[in-house]
């Protein structure tokens, strides 16, 4: 299996941006008084052929980002540019149709993501039926078989029903369904979270291979930081509806800047007893605050080991601290640190 280390996006990367998100917000109204700010102003861009990993704990809004981009949810505010066109606000029918063609999604739960009353062939060919209604049945069958082989399934199983397959095989069917319309961009929403360890690697490798062969661009959403690294060129870490850090994956793992990223990385138990015995773990206290009642200033301050007075007042700006690396934390903002009478010391 070859990987795209050579293609890793460096700051000098001249590839064109496929997706540009600016200050995207998605709020849900719970009742007259409460608004759940699932996504509260995030900005990032993804280049053609690149994979951006989006990680965070449950309830941080990472899945909402994916669903807003694919227009399952209507964004509350913000701009989304996709392949040059603005798809942020209201969009017309033709654009929607194009989006349904160019942007696809792979889901988390291999058990609920396939309609139990449809055969595999019907599931995989759904996109073809919708976008290409004139296609002959024979051609469609042939295409379904190609897609099944592409994702490593036996093509003779096209007539079977989803419940006959194992979790990993079902996830492959979901991938084949997304690939049927030949999308440019795929949002993978925790595609391996529900799978067994030995199967996870199969799916990650498959996604990588498909990217290499077809030049796909991914937004890879996950809560498992260890697997994300294997597939992402860059990683964005989300906390309570905001991106707190965005960096190239190697850099993020080597030197996490934001205190939350540091804690998150250190909390992952490593499958290596010796390292587990020797390393220092940063263990955060407390729980994630409710997204309906976000703390003032910096959202992370209630759990942050480095919280200062300014953190309760000023919402940290998401700024570039190194080329290709953005962090939303006062520890790296000379102005705020000066106010606190401290200096920026990059850990």
């Amino acid at each position: 299996m070859t990987t795209q280390t050579t293609e890793t996006s460096s700051p000098m990367d001249q590839r064109e941006d496929l997706l540009v998100v600016k200050d995207l917000k998605k709020h849900f109204r719970i009742d007259r008084k409460t608004v759940l700010k699932a996504v509260d102003g995030i900005s990032f861009s993804i280049k053609k052929g690149e994979t951006l990993g989006l990680v965070g704990e449950s309830g941080c809004g990472k899945s909402t980002v994916g669903r807003t981009l694919t227009r399952i949810y209507e964004p509350t505010a913000g701009e989304v540019g996709f392949g040059g066109a603005n798809i942020g606000g209201r969009i017309d029918r033709a654009t929607k149709r194009r989006l349904n063609h160019d942007m696809q999604m792979i889901f988390q739960d291999p058990y609920s993501s396939l309609n139990p009353r449809m055969t595999v062939a019907e599931i995989v060919s759904e996109g073809l039926v919708i976008h290409n209604p004139d296609m002959k049945q024979k051609e469609r069958d042939k295409r379904v078989q190609e897609l099944l082989e592409l994702v490593g399934l036996n093509k003779s199983h096209a007539g079977r029903y989803p419940h006959e397959f194992s979790g990993g095989q079902r996830q492959r069917i979901g991938i084949a369904r997304a690939l049927a319309v030949e999308p440019k961009f795929i949002v993978a929403d925790e595609p391996i979270a529900a799978l067994d360890v030995s199967i996870q690697a199969q799916i990650v490798n498959l996604l990588k291979e498909l990217q290499k062969d077809r030049g796909l661009t991914y937004l890879f959403i996950a809560h498992d930081l260890s697997m994300v690294k294997y597939i992402s060129d860059r990683i964005a870490v989300m906390y309570l509806g905001k991106i707190v850090e965005l960096a190239e994956s190697e850099a993020l793992y080597e030197k996490p800047l934001h205190p939350y990223t540091q804690a998150l990385l250190s909390a992952i138990p490593l499958p290596d007893p010796e390292k587990e015995r020797t390393r220092e773990q940063i263990i955060l206290t407390g729980d994630v605050p409710s997204p309906t009642d976000v703390p003032s200033g910096c959202r992370f301050r209630t759990r942050c080991p480095f919280a200062m007075d300014s953190c309760a007042v000023i919402d940290p700006e998401f700024r570039e601290v190194e080329p290709g690396r953005q962090v939303a934390c006062h520890l790296y903002d000379p102005e705020v640190m000066a106010k606190e009478g401290k200096e920026v010391t990059v850990r």
Partner: protein, 354 residues
Amino acid sequence: MDQNILEVDNLHVSFKTRNGAVPAVRGVSFTLKKGETLAIVGESGSGKSVTAKSIMQLLPKQNTVIPDGAIRYEGKDMLKFSKKEIQAVRGSDISMVFQDPMTSLNPTMKIGKQIMEGLSRHTALTKKQARQRAKEMLELVGIPNPESRLDAYPHQFSGGMRQRVVIAIALACNPKILIADEPTTALDVTIQAQILRLMRNLQEKMDTGIILITHDLGVVANMADRVAVMYAGEVVEQGTLDEIFYRPQHPYTLGLLRSMPNLDASRAEPLIPIPGSPPDPSALGTGCPFAARCPYTMKVCHDYNPGAIAMSETQAVRCWLHDERTPAGHVPAEIKEGRRSAEEAAAEAEGVTA
């Protein structure tokens, strides 16, 4: 100290279904000593949860068959216990923590009352003493303001806090054995780290033997003293933590370790998945259950399922690769020589922290 408090001996469990009996556990044996942590690792459907539930005798009677085996707690076979004897042991000597903290607490009952329930059943404490003990337990598991939290209902706690309460309930009677069935799977990583640390601290204090059931090798490396790896209802390999991680002797264990990403390995190093899917328990043949997915399968593996063979004082494995008739060239180096020695790993770990 060196005595086994729990011995599971050749346990078999099957479920009755419309299509006949389906074996879930097929001859599992392991032991647990006082104060040690045994991790049972396996994929979904490997029978690890069923093993745990059969120790606690929590499996539905009407469709479960235990045709063979013994579960000895302090030398007495619990499978022969009467209902009363079981109830006396359950919750006081052996208790259990489940995966989902959202459903393992009664939503209509105050937390304090739920902790006191077990105490009043298994101990002679007065109501006041029980309440005091409940308060201590909440304090012990790190819940702030324990006095006032006793009168709170489960929905007033977050997921991580609830799992702490569940642990408090489980440990209230000072059990000798705690069975934790995926205790952190439903939690976020930062909360998982809190709960794992809590469990380790409490174990040190109370000298509880823990059976930790999990699919996460990271959690195993963090918690366990010994490990049993289950596949298709069998323990395919067991050994000490270091033996399993650094000198795995079964291709399945090796495959699991190779398919796990390593945080400090480079992205370029590809993951090596185990091909295929876990077997259907109702369609298991007589051969080795892993033969269909194993890269080292031999002819013998299709028809004969190997028995266990001891590799060291503490490590045993069920695999034909260790038979003397297997051609020496066929045994992969990683199994022959070990993935890497503990010393190497230590040196490497040092390099990372330095």
